[in-house]
């Protein structure tokens, strides 16, 4: 078991999108679906203008809202801290897309399932870096195990100018004066909180009409086919 994290040094991000396309090709995504999004901000008045480019993707939250709302259990968090999707179970209901506070999930029309960053788990399994980290032309991206305090990423995390996105596995280094650009802590949308804290578990099936029905029928099929010992 390892705990993985990613760090983006915004001081070095030149907004070139190399990570986006490398991610797309590595993960066999259609050209119009990207797991990485880019937020560009400017401040100051000409010629005292400053910019930052802030790439975001799945932050691999500690308590992921997407997992809470997933009606089929397709989205889950594993022991390594990765939020993953079991594609056999994903029914494409898109609840997770609306629940994600970071807009990190997209619907892949070619598969009919939801897509998002998995920290390139198949590469990480082989001891490789995620494709976005490997591809970054200006060495703005870092990835590794945070359990090991001697790992390069742990050392970067320990530096004073590194900020954690609260409740996630994501860290940023921001230029001076840009602290407010740090993505908000992982806060679950109110309806997800309601769902998990108050009306759970029944609330899940009440989330919406069509998707709820799909989910229910899917579960019913499974239940009917399984061992149900009625009272």
């Amino acid at each position: 078991m390892s705990k993985y994290a990613m760090l983006i040094d915004v001081n070095e991000c030149i907004g070139c999108y190399a990570c986006r396309v490398a991610c797309q090709t590595t993960n066999d995504l259609p050209s119009d679906i990207s797991r990485i999004k880019f937020m560009e901000k400017e401040k100051g008045t000409f010629p005292e203008t400053e910019i930052v480019v802030l790439p975001t993707q799945c932050m691999h939250c500690d308590e992921p809202a997407c997992v809470d709302v997933c009606p089929t259990g397709a989205s889950f968090k594993n022991e390594d801290g990765l939020v993953l999707i079991d594609y056999d179970k994903c029914i494409g209901c898109k609840y997770c897309i609306t629940a994600c506070p970071y807009d990190a999930r997209t619907f892949n029309t070619s598969t009919g399932k939801v897509d998002k960053c998995n920290f390139c788990a198949p590469r990480v399994q082989r001891g490789m870096q995620p494709a976005c980290v490997e591809a970054c032309v200006n060495d703005a991206r870092f990835f590794g195990e945070v359990d090991d305090s001697n790992s390069p990423i742990s050392k970067l995390i320990a530096e004073a100018d590194t900020a954690k996105v609260g409740g996630t596995s994501f860290y940023y280094k921001l230029p001076e004066g840009w602290d407010e650009s740090l993505p908000e802590d992982a806060i679950k949308p109110a309806y997800v909180k309601n769902l998990t804290e108050r009306v759970h578990p029944a609330g899940k099936a009440l989330l919406g009409l069509s998707a709820g029905a799909v989910a229910a029928s899917y579960v019913m099929t499974r239940v009917n086919g399984g061992h149900e010992d009625e009272e």
Binding site: M1, N11, E12, C13, I14, G15, C16, Y17, A18, R20, V21, A22, Q24, T25, T26, S31, D32, S34, F38, E40, E42, T45, F46, P47, T49, E50, I51, V53, V67, T72, G73, F76, N78, E79, D80, L84, D86, Y87, K89, N118, A121, P122, V124, A135, V137, N138, D139, P201, A202, K204, A205, A215, A216, V219, M220, R222, V223, N224, G226, E228
Partner: protein, 736 residues
Amino acid sequence: MKLNRRTFLKLSAATASMAALGASKYRSVDNWASANERPSNITTAYSVCNSCGNRCGIMAYLRNGRLWRITGNPDDNKSGGKICTRGHGYAQMVYDKYRLSQPLKRTSDGSFVEIPWEQAYQEIGDKLMGVVRKYGPQSVFWSEYSKPISNFYGARLMAALGSPNWTTHSSTCFVGRNVGFDYTLGGLPSGDYENTKYVVFVGRSPADGMGLNILKGLGVAKKKGAKVVSVDPRLSYSAGVLADEWVAVKPGTDLALLLAWMNVLIAENLYDKGFVENYTVGFAELKEMVKQYTPEWAETITGVKAEQIRRIGRELGANRPAAFLEPGWHAAYGSNYANSTQTARATAIVNGLLGNINKPGGLCFYNRVSFGGLNPELYPTPPASPYERVDGAGVKGKYPLTLSTGLHHLLPGLAKEGKLKAGIFYSVNPGRTVPDRNYVIEGYKNLELTIVIDWQMSETAEQFADYVLPESHPMERDGIVEAIASSRPQVTMQAKVIDPVHSGGRGLDRIVSELATAMGLERFFNFTLEDLNKAMLFPLGLFPVHLKSRGIVDGDAGQWHYEFPVDGSGKPSLRTKSGKVEFFSSSFAEHGHNPLPAWQAPKVMPSGDKLRMIHGHQAYHTHAQTMNNPYLMSITKDYEGDSIWLNTETAKRLGISDGDTVQVSGNGWEAKSKVKVTQRIHPEALFVPGGYGGFAKSLVRGYGIGVNINDFLKHDTEPISGHAMMEEVLVSVKRA
């Protein structure tokens, strides 16, 4: 099952337990990854990226024999193990459905029909020889986006025909820079980025135009405390991210800034006196001239505060010789302004004052390996053409100082005048990338024979080609061996990575050789590309297989030393007339140009609501070549990358808001565009990104997207290096 409350709750519990089940099934990263991976056989192959002129070394990953992804070759000094956005996208085009697969011939109704290769060769050969017989070989030209394969085969075909007109894209790209540097430093040096303490980019943006080795070198230098300055009318990603300081110069006035830096370096005795004494000519004349160009004077021209100019001048002097002005590419002095060639000279001269030539952290003339060549006894070399170039490049009284690669933007006019009758366009698209669309298309339509060789359609092919010959994609074919100049010289080659996807496409080597054979010129093409590569590598003790299996091979080109170049007798031996840095250029004087780069204003200047249109690369597009690339165009789409940029204050004055659609007019051309209102651009400039404004219907993903600066330009030529003056244009803008 009836759905009552009880069963409903049970269902929900089942859902929860299934979620738990899922988690337990894929507990660790390993088993999820294994379950989600296709069974596959991964192999790798080395090659060279073709997506721009940088030619970075790559590693291609194939999955079950199909190209999957590429990375930079870590051994390559140019890519440093990285590959840019364009490279990733370009490689995937090998499978694109819009690739050309069969030769095309234009029919009488203007459409194209597919024809077999043999018919194409026969018809083209007959017609081309007919033109040569009727009008002479000087009426034929070759035009290319410069690549090693066409540098050889295109030039050789022209020589075989007797034509002097082998031409590259240089006059709309970098010719002003090269001529300026050639007549000052005797060539174009490279920055010693890793060891520099202070570097100034005058116009060039390595984060947008892409210079992977520069990014890598700056990364090393910055960690050691180096300072990076970016001179640019726009806060590019280089100015905004890489640089410590942005000098927001008024577009077209960089020359004034450079003259002020000369003034500061000389007036404050910050220049390298020993170097100037030993290795330069014309210092006295230069000193006299720049007396007048104080930072205060430059402020009135450039809009940059005198104290900022003076401080940077002092910082350059304090950090010399590990300080340099980067030699640039297209932007400030490649081919944009009436003063560009002299601005390039001025950039080179500031470097001379800093005495940084072949110094650690300065500008270096690195070694490159010397290749062999074909044995002329076995493979006869076509004689050089006895004719002068029709475009006047290298011709007395026309453009004697410019490069032998010619002035391709002049060719349409020469076709209209009847001086050119047939042309071959290789991987170049003047229909979109040369200024003044109507001039280009109407001019080239006068040709009796137009052949386009490319792997995709283009504005050029659609508008005026008679024949379109499909080249295979670079991933499908070998190229010519290449030398990489560096402190550690290297040799590499583009190598075939996958079997051709389309059986119809052929490599340029084969197309040219077979066409030459159809014209009875086979004696000059009695060798294969493999023969040629073997002959070139012979003196190095290498074979193509070494490059294919290792990607990059270190070449022995002698030990690199940080020493000013000297000949056997110890005399300075830069490749200038004097062997020294020429502050004063007697060659320029001889041909009626100012031997010193005195201040010269651009041809047009913004005033009132007339703005200067400027342009520049995006990191994710290469000119118009990538306009049909689905990966790269989806970036444009997602981030409105085709928007033009307007300064916030200017926009406010004109009643324009961010995201508005605006109408841009200038030189009789009008176009609509979305606008990005930003503090990142000079108030007198309007920025047009990349190679948009596609009007080739077959390039569906880029058709009608964005605007292109070339449409707002009128055909024009600067007199020294003969470039196309691509930012001498004023436009007005209003809400559409």
